[in-house]
């Protein structure tokens, strides 16, 4: 079975501080991993996916197959980063079924 775990529900930091949102997964095959974000009063949207290997809004995430993790990081948080963040997994084969974690609320204080 596929499972995504986001161990922390809430994270509060000050502007300019580094942030790391943890994500661990359970899947025996080769997954695709994603981070989705939901800003206040907006719809859920893709932030980044591991195969793109790109930095979006200063965020990066590296897939660590040994530790089965896909942590989201940003060196200097901004107030506009405050949002709900969801880690999601797609099983091998390109299935459109996404398995989401429970989400984490990031608050960046001024």
């Amino acid at each position: 079975a596929q499972r995504v775990t986001q161990p922390e529900k809430l994270l509060s930091v000050f502007k300019g501080a580094p942030v790391e949102l943890k994500c661990n997964y359970s899947y025996s095959g080769s997954p695709e991993l994603f981070w989705y974000v939901q800003y206040s009063r907006q719809r859920l949207q893709l932030l980044l996916r591991h195969i793109s290997r790109e930095s979006i809004k200063g965020f990066t995430a590296d897939l660590n197959k040994g530790e089965t993790s896909f942590h989201l990081k940003k060196p200097f948080a901004q107030e506009e980063d405050s949002a709900m963040y969801y880690c999601a997994l797609s099983a091998q084969g390109g299935s459109e079924k996404l398995v989401f974690g429970k989400g984490m609320k990031l608050t960046v204080n001024p």
Binding site: R49, E96, L98, K102, G103
Partner: protein, 113 residues
Amino acid sequence: DAGVTQSPTHLIKTRGQHVTLRCSPISGHKSVSWYQQVLGQGPQFIFQYYEKEERGRGNFPDRFSARQFPNYSSELNVNALLLGDSALYLCASSLEQGPIPLHFGNGTRLTVT
């Protein structure tokens, strides 16, 4: 831009009733999927449709059904509503199949009393 649109935005139903939720994908998108998001949880996959055929089904009872129309819009139907069906129902569309970026709608908030 015209993103994924869902209707209605809110709905209140009584236990045992039936409900139909509607979704219009982004123009040109052929794949539609449905997710249920219970308060405090992440979205949970219900169905995926591509080119009007069911391509994936999550772990939901047969009371849940869906279909996709020739114009790629979709309906999610839930029969014999239970209190536990109260949730935000999200529709997402994408150009093709696969986990390529899903574009989500704002959802339909269903409350079952």
